[in-house]
């Protein structure tokens, strides 16, 4: 990716959660994509990873199976070559490109309201990720979210009550942020957004109570 001026970065807790492997896949995808665009957050992530290394270094040793090394060498000998990644162009950062067939032109958009299209990016449950395409001057449709919502600008820009977000910028919104993002006039704004999915309970009564307690 080309150099860009990024003013909105990841928070420490998100970097630590990503480094610790505690984020659902959809949020990890947004973090990895932002880090691919942002040298500052890349350096911050390396520091958090070093904390993980320090923890690994202090957690003692467990006894291995007697044939552990032999089995590991057998695994190495039996390994198949990695399946090649889909062909990419430079339209999207690497981690995201891997999820959508290699390029922005491969994305299968679905029209929502006037001037807005979206494409769900398949990830595991626990959170959902989607690409948003918002025509210049158009407001992002109201999208209720519970838990944290990450919005990463890939192209164009949007503004809301908290500021202006251009390419590479990430907005970290908790569920109490009421915001109405509007795409800037000019070229369309393309974003990668991820939202923590609400907990789903199998039983009827907890499900009825869920809206009351917002759990």
């Amino acid at each position: 990716m080309k150099h860009m001026t990024i003013t909105h970065h990841l928070s420490d807790d998100l970097l630590m959660a990503y480094s610790a492997g505690a984020l659902p896949e959809a949020l990890s995808l947004v973090v990895a994509t932002h880090v691919s665009m942002c040298p500052d957050c890349r350096a911050a992530l390396a520091a958090h990873d070093a904390v993980g290394g320090a923890v690994l270094g202090t957690c003692g040793e467990a006894e291995l199976a007697p044939d552990s090394l032999e089995k590991t060498l057998a695994r190495i000998a039996a390994a198949r070559p990695e399946t090649p990644r889909p062909k990419r162009d430079d339209s999207l950062p690497g981690p995201l490109a891997d999820y959508v067939g290699g390029s922005l032109s491969q994305v299968k958009w679905r029209a929502l309201a006037g001037g807005v299209k979206q494409a769900v990016v398949p990830t595991d449950r626990g959170a959902t990720a989607r690409l948003l395409y918002i025509q210049g001057g158009v407001a992002v449709p109201d999208h209720g979210h519970r838990g944290v919502e990450l919005t990463l600008v890939l192209q164009g820009a949007f503004r809301d009550e908290t500021g202006r977000f251009g390419p590479g910028d990430i907005e970290v919104a908790s569920d109490d942020l009421e915001h109405k993002p509007v795409a800037e006039h000019g070229p369309a704004c393309i974003c990668l957004a991820a939202t923590e999915a609400p907990l789903r309970f199998a039983g009827l009564i907890p499900r009825l109570m869920q809206p009351l307690f917002r759990i």
């Binding site: 807790d13 998100l14 630590m16 959660a17 480094s19 610790a20 492997g21 505690a22 659902p24 896949e25 949020l27 990890s28 995808l29 973090v31 990895a32 994509t33 880090v35 691919s36 040298p39 500052d40 890349r42 350096a43 911050a44 992530l45 390396a46 520091a47 990873d49 070093a50 904390v51 993980g52 290394g53 320090a54 923890v55 690994l56 270094g57 202090t58 957690c59 003692g60 040793e61 467990a62 006894e63 291995l64 199976a65 552990s68 090394l69 089995k71 590991t72 695994r75 190495i76 390994a79 950062p93 690497g94 981690p95 995201l96 891997d98 999820y99 990830t123 595991d124 838990g147 944290v148």
Partner: protein
């Protein structure tokens, strides 16, 4: 041998694996790291059987991905941690782990020996900083990296005054930033 020279020795072994596909160096690193990785995975809640399987997988990955090891960016311990974390997500949580792609870091400068030493010592310094934390704060950091805390729990806990560790992270960060500009 002190911890600092240990990390430097591990980095040398790792470079022999990366550059020469040296099986003896691999066996030596296996003896050092496989028992730690297994302990780490068991602390993360795996049974001994699953942890053993996953450890073999982690160590095989260390060999296969050796080409990605860069001693100016991470100590061997940190690098092994990232592999173990990813395999834990992959095999135990059965989810994909999106990883950042490499940025263009500008013209590739010849890495300075001092820089490598610095990076290899960082893990040890962080380890000591963690060891000096009050027990409850230390337990929180450990639980986060063992995968015991959810994202929202981590978000709540990073508000705690984890002074020492935060200033350590900040220092590590400043050095990395300095190195990249």
């Amino acid at each position: 041998m002190t911890a600092e020279t240990e990390e430097a020795e591990w980095a040398r072994l790792m470079l022999r694996i990366r550059d020469d596909r040296d099986a003896e160096a691999f066996a030596a690193l296996f003896r050092e790291f496989a028992p730690r990785v297994k302990a780490f995975l068991m602390r993360s809640g795996s049974t001994a059987t699953v942890a053993e399987e996953c450890t073999q997988d982690v160590m095989a990955t260390l060999w296969q991905k050796a080409g990605l090891f860069d001693p100016t960016r991470a100590s061997v311990t940190t690098w092994v941690f990232t592999i173990a974390r990813n395999r834990r997500i992959d095999t135990i949580r059965r989810a994909r782990r999106p990883e950042p792609e490499d940025l263009a870091w500008g013209p590739e400068a010849e890495p300075e020996a001092a820089e490598i030493v610095e990076r290899q010592q960082e893990t040890d310094r962080l380890g000591r900083a963690i060891a000096q934390l009050p027990p409850n704060q230390r337990a929180l950091i450990e639980r986060a990296y063992f995968g015991d805390l959810s994202h929202s729990e981590i978000a709540a806990e990073t508000g705690l005054p984890l002074g020492t560790i935060k200033s350590r992270i900040r220092l590590a960060l400043d050095r990395l930033r300095h190195q990249m500009t």
